[in-house]
Amino acid sequence: MIRLAFPVMFSAVLFAIGVYGVLARRNGILVLMSIELMLNAVNVNLVAFSQFLSGQAAPLAGQIFTLFVITVAAAEVGIGLAIVILIFRNRETINVDEVNLLKW
């Protein structure tokens, strides 16, 4: 028996910290890490509500979607790091505020 507010608040805190990291960091890899924090916050929410609604029609849908989110996050990190390494090779920096090729 656990209050639903505990995991939900934990996920809100993690999400807010992730938002701060994405906005305040300029190193590309640290931005990726902060995005991971936000994805984890979403996953905590999914699992918490999956357990909260365990008497409903599709009781385990939340946990299964957590697995999908984890897989998509792995793919995202793979592609993101490939892009970061490519940028580093071409421009010798991974600071996201110095990479402004597509800026108008």
């Binding site: 028996m1 656990i2 209050r3 639903l4 507010a5 505990f6 995991p7 939900v8 608040m9 934990f10 809100a12 993690l14 999400f15 807010a16 910290i17 992730g18 701060y20 990291g21 906005l23 305040a24 960091r25 300029r26 590309g28 890899i29 640290l30 990726l32 890490m33 991971e36 924090l37 984890n40 905590v44 699992v47 918490a48 999956s50 357990q51 365990s54 599709a58 009781p59 385990l60 946990q63 299964i64 999908f68 984890i70 897989t71 998509v72 996050a73 792995a74 793919a75 990190v77 793979g78 592609i79 790091l81 892009i83 970061v84 390494i85 490519l86 580093f88 090779r89 010798e92 505020d97």
Partner: protein
């Protein structure tokens, strides 16, 4: 407060502290290690919520694979040390946005789910397995295809073109500073 809630509180505090250190760390490798702590506490949270399969998937994929990938990324790029080098000038603005999101979410969620309780039923792995391969086969296959596409995409992006390698060999790469000097 039940035992689960006390353990959850402890894990939540550790995870929150590690996450805060992650976004304020001066050294990128320390940030990666704080990320490990945060992800491990999230796995502990899954265990408390009786989602043991998701917890071990979290340990294997996040702590085992993604963090190693990020560490490889850190090793292949140059990582400066110091907050000024790692943060941009929007730190105050970012803090305001984050606190605003946190306050909004906290008020909304407490209002809605303040008194709700979870009845924990252990042992969901069997159900996950059977519904993953019965009801969710199509999403499962789509996700596996997505992983394959991401893998191939990462290889294509990160490998060097042959002619570029040849040109680099003929003319050794110059650092950014040398290029600036030559331009002057």
């Amino acid at each position: 407060m039940t035992v689960q809630e006390w353990v959850f509180l402890l894990l939540g505090l550790v995870g929150t502290g590690a996450a805060l250190r992650l976004v304020t760390a001066k050294n990128v490798v320390h940030a990666a290690l704080y990320l490990v702590i945060t992800l491990a506490t999230v796995a502990g949270v899954y265990l408390i919520l009786a989602a043991e399969f998701v917890a071990w998937v979290q340990v294997l994929i996040y702590v085992g694979a993604i963090v190693v990938l990020l560490l490889f990324g850190l090793m292949l790029t140059r990582a400066p040390i110091g907050r000024e080098a790692l943060d941009n000038q929007q730190r105050g603005f970012a803090a305001i946005v984050a606190v605003g999101i946190l306050a909004g979410l906290a008020i909304l969620l407490w209002d809605t789910f303040g008194q709700a309780r979870i009845d924990l039923a252990p042992g969901s792995t069997r159900g996950i397995g059977s519904s993953l391969f019965r009801s969710y086969v199509l999403p499962f296959e789509v996700v596996s295809f997505l992983l394959l596409a991401a893998l191939i995409g990462a290889i294509v992006l990160a490998r060097r073109d042959e002619d570029v390698v040849e040109r680099r060999r003929a003319e050794p790469p110059r650092s950014l500073r040398e290029r600036e000097v030559a331009r002057r």
